[in-house]
Every structure is written in C-alpha cells, then in structure tokens.
C-alpha cells in the first residue's frame, strides 16, 4: 500500500513535488559492527528531501541512535557514507542541530546562557546585544520567556526539552536531528510539545530526522516513517538489522493531534506499523 522497498524511486518522485531539494541528505549502505561478523545493522540506505520530516521507529538495540549519531557526526559508521547537500559528513557540524534524548542542558548555565552558548558558537562575531535578542526570540518561540533566567534544575522535564529544541533551532541548522526527544515526558506534556514542534517545523521548513518509540508521534509528525528491524540469528545464520520498510504517510500534511484519529487511513496506517513492530521488527 504505502510501503516501498528502501531506496526505490517511487516515493521519491512523489516527494519531489512537495519538497524543495531532492536527496538533500543521502545515506548510502551504512553499517555498524561492534562484534566481528555480526553487524548491528547493515546496508542502511535512504534519502531525505529538504523540508521533509522523517521518523525512524524500531525496538531498542536496533541501532537507531547509532544512525542518528553518525548523521550528527558524533559516531563513525563501520561501513557506508552520509552526504548532506552533496558533501560527505565526516564530523559534527553546526549545520546539523541535535536535540538529545536527555536534553543535555548545562546545569550551571541559565536557559538564556545555555542558548547564548550555542548562538555564540554559531556566530562568534555577533555583539552581545544581538546574541541576546536572538536568544530571546527563540526562547519566546517555545514559550519559555518567563523562565529565561532560571537554571535547568528549576524547570520541569517538558520545559527542559523545550529549551533543548530552542537551542537546536537557534543556530539555524540546515537540518535537525532529534533523538527521542519526548521519551521521558508524560503524555500530556508530550502532546503539547509535539504540536509546538510541528508548528515550528512547518513554519521554518526545517528538515528533520527523528527517532521515536511512539507510533502516534511518528504518524503525526512524519512525512515518511522508516521501520527498522533488529539483527537476529536464525538457525545459525545471522541477519543484521536494517530498514525493513519505508512507509509514506498518506495523511494530509496539515493535520493536528486532536483530529488525527478522525482522518481516513489513520487506523490502517497505525495498524500496519504496530503489526510491524509486534511481528516483524524482531525476527525470532
């Protein structure tokens, strides 16, 4: 139905109409091996168009975070290459903003200082007032202006994650990498921030690659969903993990969390992903 084999051209052609630059990010035959002969995942290839939102979903240990870290330049793949905008990714860069799983705010700095640290790293030549205006703009964007001079320990989990998102957006990266950013939040907070994130992403036309465990989150946010399977051993033959399926989200792009489950095709899509996770993701 909405499925396709990875790296097949069909969905790409459809996407090209919707988004600007095709194949803005290109991942070619990525693999990671810790134990010789048993790569965690292998032959992972996919592309992202500019302005596209991709979610990757899979069980723990399938290598999602490793893929994200390789995209961020924080980890080295054992095989394969990543190209962004035609250039190979070899290390961390300001062009790819990362929102970390555990927010990763520096606890000795206030919200303002945390974001200013990123802004000053991006534009070292900016004078202090300009940095400050920029910081305040992005703090306001995530609705944290009243808490701008507080330290992270005085913020709730949701607020901390918002600061992490504001920090990633504040450096105006070419693409955003989100490592399960809402994993530690309660359902209510999670919903609010998902809406906020979607609003900001749509507004800024940001290209996003996001890891999630939450099927509804993926359906709400993603234009395409990558389903990843774990590596498995069957009768002595080891099959590495990888992208088992790429699901194109058929729902209209202007959707909201509240109305999501009323949309045609929502349940079919959801069932398809859940079935995958339950039966196929972890081959026995």
């Amino acid at each position: 139905m909405w499925s396709e084999v990875p790296a097949q051209g069909l969905a790409g052609a459809v996407q090209a109409k919707e988004f600007g630059v095709k194949d803005f990010l290109k991942i070619e035959q990525l693999g990671k091996t810790y134990q010789a002969g048993k790569p965690v995942f292998a032959d992972v290839s996919f592309t992202l168009d500019r302005g596209e939102f991709i979610c990757i979903i899979g069980h723990s240990g399938c290598g999602k975070t490793t893929i994200l870290n390789v995209l961020a330049g924080l980890d080295q793949a054992s095989a394969g290459h990543v190209f962004m905008d035609g250039r190979e990714v070899v290390g961390p860069s300001l062009e790819r903003g990362v929102v970390f799983q555990g927010h990763a705010l520096m606890p000795w700095l206030t919200v303002r200082q945390n974001i200013a640290f990123a802004v000053k790293s991006r534009w070292p030549e900016w004078p202090a007032p300009k940095v400050n205006v920029h910081v305040e703009k992005y703090v306001a964007m995530v609705g944290l202006s009243p808490a701008i001079d507080r330290k992270p320990n005085a913020l709730s989990g949701g607020m901390k994650q918002r600061v992490g998102i504001a920090r990633a957006f504040a450096i105006a990266p070419k693409m955003l990498l989100l490592d399960e950013p809402f994993g530690a939040l309660d359902a209510l907070t999670r919903g609010t921030i998902q809406d906020e994130l979607m609003g900001i992403v749509r507004q800024t036309q940001q290209t996003v690659f996001m890891i999630t465990h939450d099927v509804d989150e993926a359906i709400l946010l993603a234009d395409r969903i990558l389903l990843m399977s774990n590596g498995s051993e069957h009768e002595g033959i080891y099959t590495p993990g990888g992208i088992a399926e790429v699901v194109v989200n058929p729902l209209p792009r202007e959707r909201s969390r509240a109305g999501l489950h009323h949309l045609d095709g929502y349940y079919a899509l959801r069932n398809h992903i859940v079935d995958f996770l339950v039966t196929r993701a972890r081959a026995h």
Binding site: A72, G73, L74, G91, P92, S93, L94, R96, G97, V98, F100, G102, A104, M106, P107, W108, L109, F117, A118, S121, R122, K151, P152, N153, I171
Partner: protein
C-alpha cells in the same frame, strides 16, 4: 529547623562549659598545699632541701583555665610584636605559616590542575602516569624533607616544597577524575556546536568538573595545614609550628595550648572558605 539550630547551639555550649569545668576541677586540686603544721623545723628544712617545699604551691604544672585565659588575652592583645627571632607575636607566626601554605598550595594548583586536565582528557596519559601517582601519593610529605633540604639548601623553601608535594596529589587525582567523568552529553553538545578546544575546556569541562576539582582543593588545603605545623617544627625559624616547638622547649604549656587552639581555628577557617567556594561552583543536575 530553627529550633534544631537553637538546641544544637545550646548543647554545644553545654559541652564546652562541662569541659571547662572538668579542666578547672582537675587543675584546682593539684595546687592544694600539704599541711605543714605538724612538722618540726628540722623536718621542714629537710623537705625544702629535697625540693618538696610544703608551704609553696607548685607552679609550672598543667595550667588552670584562668592562667590559660590570661595567656590568650596576652597574645591576642599584642599579636604583632617582634622581639627577635625567638619571640614574635602570634599574628606574625601565623602569617609566616599561611604564607608558606599559600605559596606551596598555589604552586600545587598550577601543576595539578593543568596536569589533571591532561590526564582526565587522555586515557594514554592516565595509564602512563597512574603508577607514578599511586606510588608517590601515599608518601608522607615529611619524608621528602631531608631530600628537599639537601637539594634546595634553604629551610624555608623546603617547607614550601613539602606543602607543594602534599597538596598536589588530591588535586591531581580529583581534577583528572572530574574531567574524565564530564557527561558525554555536554561534550556532544560542544562537538555539534563546533566549539573550539580552548572554549570547550573553559566553558564546558571546567565548570562541569569544578565541584570535583574544588573537593580536591579542599582536601589538599586540609592536608597542607596539617603538614605545615610538622614541617615548621622540623625546619624551625618562624611559623606557628615553630612556635609550638619553641614553647615546648620553654616548658610553657599555656602557650602550646594556645597555639593548638589557634591551629584548629585557622584550619576551620580555611575549610569553611573552601566549603564556600565549593558551594559556589556546585550545580544541581
């Protein structure tokens, strides 16, 4: 909370008063003169010749609280006098000791913190230097004294060296540990922001490791203050340690006790100071 503080203060005062009371009673009974009435003049004269004068209370024993108080008052009312090498005011002696500790400690900071940074950042250096640190760390600082005196040939500088060598290890070990255990997340943030190595060292690693580093500095300062007294007893000349030794040679227990009290109070002050600094750099995650 308020009441707990009040009650603990009350209890502390009570303990102090009890100790003073015991001291007073213990020293008061020693000076009671033996009855001399039933002795013949010959016996009295004999007793005097043997140094057991029954009519005179013995002095120079363990001081009474009153004598102690007078000594304390005497020292504190004139702390800056200088009557030659063997007779200086307590403030001058303390200044000498604190100066040596400060100098040795600062030198140790200058070596231990950069080196600890390097060790914490580089697993290679860590492994290479670990055996040396493990062997050198448990050596009593005073064991270095003969070697220091022989090579440096200056007693005062040797004292500073001993302070240096005893302060270096806790700071070195703590700095290395603090730097090595900076959270991966923060380093990743710095990496994705393409922060320069120097900026990363000062704006990410240093603040992240600061509480651990300051703990090391606090331990070092405690050890340095312990060691300076012993070092000055050996080296002589000036300082609170020398004062203690000199007053022991003068058999002036009140002065010795006064010095002990001062050493304790100054040590507490130094610890409080570093406690404050530690609190200032500590963050809550």
């Amino acid at each position: 909370m308020q009441s707990l503080r009040l009650r603990s203060a009350l209890l502390s005062t009570l303990i102090l008063l009890t100790l003073l009371g015991v001291w007073y009673l213990a020293t008061a009974t020693g000076s009671v003169a033996a009855p001399a009435a039933n002795l013949t003049p010959e016996q009295l004269e004999y007793a005097r010749m043997m140094g057991k004068d029954p009519g005179v209370s013995k002095s120079g024993g363990f001081p009474t609280p009153a004598q102690m108080g007078a000594t304390v008052w005497g020292h504190l009312s004139n702390p800056f006098y200088d009557n030659g090498p063997n007779d200086k005011g307590i403030a001058i002696q303390l200044a000498h000791s604190l100066g040596r500790v400060a100098l040795g400690f600062l030198l140790a900071c200058g070596v231990a913190i950069p080196l600890g940074f390097a060790i914490g950042m580089s697993p290679l250096l860590h492994r290479a230097l670990d055996p040396f640190i493990q062997v050198l760390k448990p050596i009593s600082p005073l064991a270095w004294m003969p070697l220091a005196l022989y090579t440096i040939k200056d007693s005062s500088v040797s004292g500073i060296f001993v302070i240096f060598i005893c302060s270096v290890w806790p700071m070195l070990v703590n700095t290395a540990f603090g730097v090595a255990s900076v959270r991966r997340d923060w380093l990743n943030v710095a990496a994705t922001l393409e922060v320069s190595p120097l900026r990363k060292a000062f704006l990410v690693i240093l603040p992240a490791a600061a509480p651990t580093i300051l703990t090391g500095m606090r331990i070092s300062m405690g050890i340095a203050w312990l060691v300076i007294v012993a070092a000055e007893m050996l080296v002589g000349g000036t300082g609170i340690g020398y004062f203690v030794w000199n007053e022991w040679n003068n058999l002036s227990l009140t002065n010795v006790m006064f010095a002990i009290l001062v050493i304790g109070l100054v040590g507490m002050g130094l610890d409080l100071l570093f406690g404050r600094l530690q609190k200032a750099v500590t963050y809550v995650e």
